[in-house]
Symmetry: C2
Subunit: 606 residues, 2 copies
Amino acid sequence: MIRSQSMSLQGIANPEWTRSLGATPFVSPSSTCSSLLEGLPEYQRVTISGDYCAGITVEDYEQAAKSLLKALRIREKYSKLAYHRFFRTTSKYLRSTENDPIVILVYNMLRVVDVCPCPRNGEDPYSMENIPENLGFELKMKDGIVNVYDNLEALRENKPRNLPYPDLETFAIDLSPVLAMIADGPTKTYCHRRLNFLGSKFYLHEMLNEMAELKELKGVPHRDFYNVRKVDTHIHAAACMSQKHLLAFIQTTYKTEAERVVLEKDGQQMTLREVFHSLNMDPYDLTVDSLDVHAGRQTFHRFDKFNSKYNPVGASELRDIYLKADNLIHGEYFARIVKEVAHDLEESKYQHAEPRLSIYGRSPDEWDSLSKWFIDHRVHSPNMRWIIQVPRIYDIFKSKKLIPNFGKMLENVFLPLFEATVNPQKHKELHVFLKYVTGFDSVDDESKHSDHLFSYKSPKPEQWTADNNPPYSYYLFHMYANIMVLNNLRRERGMSTFQFRPHCGEAGSITHLVSAFLTADNISHGLNLKKSPVLQYLYYLAQVPIAMSPLSNNSLFLEYSKNPLREFLHKGLCVSLSTDDPMQFHYTKTRDTVQRTQLLSRGCEV
Amino acid sequence: MIRSQSMSLQGIANPEWTRSLGATPFVSPSSTCSSLLEGLPEYQRVTISGDYCAGITVEDYEQAAKSLLKALRIREKYSKLAYHRFFRTTSKYLRSTENDPIVILVYNMLRVVDVCPCPRNGEDPYSMENIPENLGFELKMKDGIVNVYDNLEALRENKPRNLPYPDLETFAIDLSPVLAMIADGPTKTYCHRRLNFLGSKFYLHEMLNEMAELKELKGVPHRDFYNVRKVDTHIHAAACMSQKHLLAFIQTTYKTEAERVVLEKDGQQMTLREVFHSLNMDPYDLTVDSLDVHAGRQTFHRFDKFNSKYNPVGASELRDIYLKADNLIHGEYFARIVKEVAHDLEESKYQHAEPRLSIYGRSPDEWDSLSKWFIDHRVHSPNMRWIIQVPRIYDIFKSKKLIPNFGKMLENVFLPLFEATVNPQKHKELHVFLKYVTGFDSVDDESKHSDHLFSYKSPKPEQWTADNNPPYSYYLFHMYANIMVLNNLRRERGMSTFQFRPHCGEAGSITHLVSAFLTADNISHGLNLKKSPVLQYLYYLAQVPIAMSPLSNNSLFLEYSKNPLREFLHKGLCVSLSTDDPMQFHYTKTRDTVQRTQLLSRGCEV
């Protein structure tokens, strides 16, 4: 089989922009494969015959293969439970290895009737008509997972509605074989060899068919690099503008609205002029240098310093005024600048983005506030879908006594979503906003150390009253679990479902990548796959989409020249290029071309 | 002494844009040094005491130092003769090493009264008033160099006017010690060690003063990366637009002027519609892929393939219509698209460029044609100055029997300039155009082999009737010689002088860099300095400006990751970033930010 990663950024005539594109920005791997195999007899083919498992013993080979199959089956189970995508070719293969014939996958049928909530041309995207009725279900968090009850009686009898509710013990048990196999010698050797083989095959194919591919590329009418549809699958809304854009925006607001009250500090209301006066500066004198939102050598391996770059001129006041949705001016400035970015995307016609908006879990009101912001300021754009990012900062809220335990944080994040699903009439704005939400991201510095070792004996979220932060996998499981139940409930009602798309493998332990292998539809970064051939091969086999951002990594965790993106692409992993934080990393606003330049400047013609 | 290459791209408050900026795009090295030394006591300093020539013997050290001094003196001589710049600090040092006190350099005084021909605000840049009178001098080419005679009698008596006329023999003699020293063991060791020392000192300085420099940078009011003045010192006019820009331009002309006669082919006039019909295509269907002007893997080490990329859709007809100044429509389209690029630069306010226009030396009419194009289409822009590039393709013209010998090619290139200088009244358009010409470039594939070994015995240009091409150094010397005489003549008349700024060290023999060390004000590329520590150190000592283009090199001669730009910058060589051919190498039209991205993506914060 010929793979064609070299085409994945170019030359596809009609990629569809659907709500659930996830981290597959240009074309799904399967469609590329089939188009290659069907219409192109002039390609030179590489055929390998003879002993398939050359280089290792049959015993080792069998053991490795069994482990890999087992891991894939586990991911398949978790994917289906949460209505996540599971790569179809892999799924078919898994069926073929099973002895008992399995019924056609309900999962696959379900995908066909996938809900597309995008408003058609002329429809009002904020329309509050035809909102589903109240189901009257009762909701209660149990062991950190929202349980659904048909009515009060069922709640009293503790008989939850028939939905799959995952539990920590099962998850811990499912994790352990995958954790074990990534350290298993023979499996490591086998995966390492297979990955090398994939890379070699790519180079061979490229050498033989480069010109034919180029010719094909040029033959596609009305499509070139600039007008194939591109999706920025990993971008944070608070940094989605360039530094220059933010600077100009700040200066404009100061010019036109200096006397507007924009901030309340120590009980005192301040106008824009007073804010800048208190900071001892005149926006007219600001430059991108003094704005100081750009990452550089100082942020390398310093996520703390990086986070502070979100504060223009180092002043959290300005972050609050310009980059927050929940402030004294009801996030008006933030909405305006995000809409300016959206406008640029619409102008370019072929660019789309999935910006992250934050829900912290500090209070249950956050969702209402965010959806009100979205609807009041009419932030929807046909070129944008939204991801909700939940920062892993329980420890901060706990130390400030904002929440009593980890369970409360989960409840603040997820209970409002269940309520809006059960009774959309009561949460109309949230119901409408959720139509445009693709999924959830889990964000923060992965290299932060955790004292707690995640296991089936870990305390339940309601019992997690300690001051320290739960470990990464603990966060991941509980977010997954709630999204999974929620998706099942929403699917019952014919509503859209959500993907879990955490930041994973940017830094820290490689075990993060194991947890995400089970729980995530797709991940951002995945740099640490470099360090584990077994995980890398598993991510390849399952075609887990990985949104990568070499320029971001360059300022944070990995030098540009060492970035594995190109290698992953050649081996056939399902990678895409994303911008992460244009404000911190970029110098132009032409997103697509920056991405392209990133690759080109590595001598990599994609 | 603290060097501050790290600042050379940023933070300079008032760099002047003068006509003779050459390859010093952001700030001259001397001004950076002095500003650092004067106002900034808070910097940490590195002082080295003890044995200065540690690591080599005193004899070797003395020999190496003498050779280097000799080479610098030779360059100084050639620079002054041609009114080229010679780095002042080096010049002062050379004076201090000489035993007899030397009079204050006439050269330096001359620089002060440098002619600035830029029209002031409101002045007509094409004004034909106040054009100097005819001097009535006679001109005659002798040994490939235009000689000037006061009158017919002096010409008959063969008594040329008192100007410096270089000769091939002297040049060959001056070359030989420099050629010898680049292969001399002790000198190589010495230079290698000095360069390493410079690099280490830079890193040390950076480590100690990084934060102080950043602070200083942020303190500069109203200046940041986007609004410091930037000069693209190396860009070819025929490729100065992006591929997308060219595509849109072609489509626009087709939409509005399809019935215009634009081409004469085989004696038959063709409209734009007929041209595209004969090429069997509709511009509406064109994409940047089918336009095919972009360099890629296919052009690596294939300068021939690269050159063919100048033909849109591979059709030389389109190159002729859109990218030539001398065609059936009198270069109207070319002028229009170049002016669109100029307009973008003017809009951005802080970006400038020195595009190359071609003079081939096929016929003496080329100059009149080019200057007429410039004036008729009003191509002047305050943000552009012009460089004339002369391709080294005598062999092609000779084989087509367009010229009888190499001398004729030189005459076609240079005699018209002498005529316009002696009698501007007769060549008004050329006289006005020359005001905006900065200098001359020598271009072509340096890796092309030459059968002839350049020496003092090489035939004179009038005797060069062979079919093969003269070697690189032969071209360089004769271009330099004519520019030098011309500059002396023009200086007498108070007219602007020209810099010689050849492509050099992009590929081919390192001896090219020796010839340019003598003859060039500054060079483009200089990649091969990587291969010779002695030359690299000499270019450092003389601060010869080098316009580098890593993205161009990446498609042609050197992988991006191996580009020495960063290393040169750190050692203190006088380097700048340029675009070369945006059409072939770029994806955005934001020149400055692309340049910045180039560096950033190498993990290089400049």
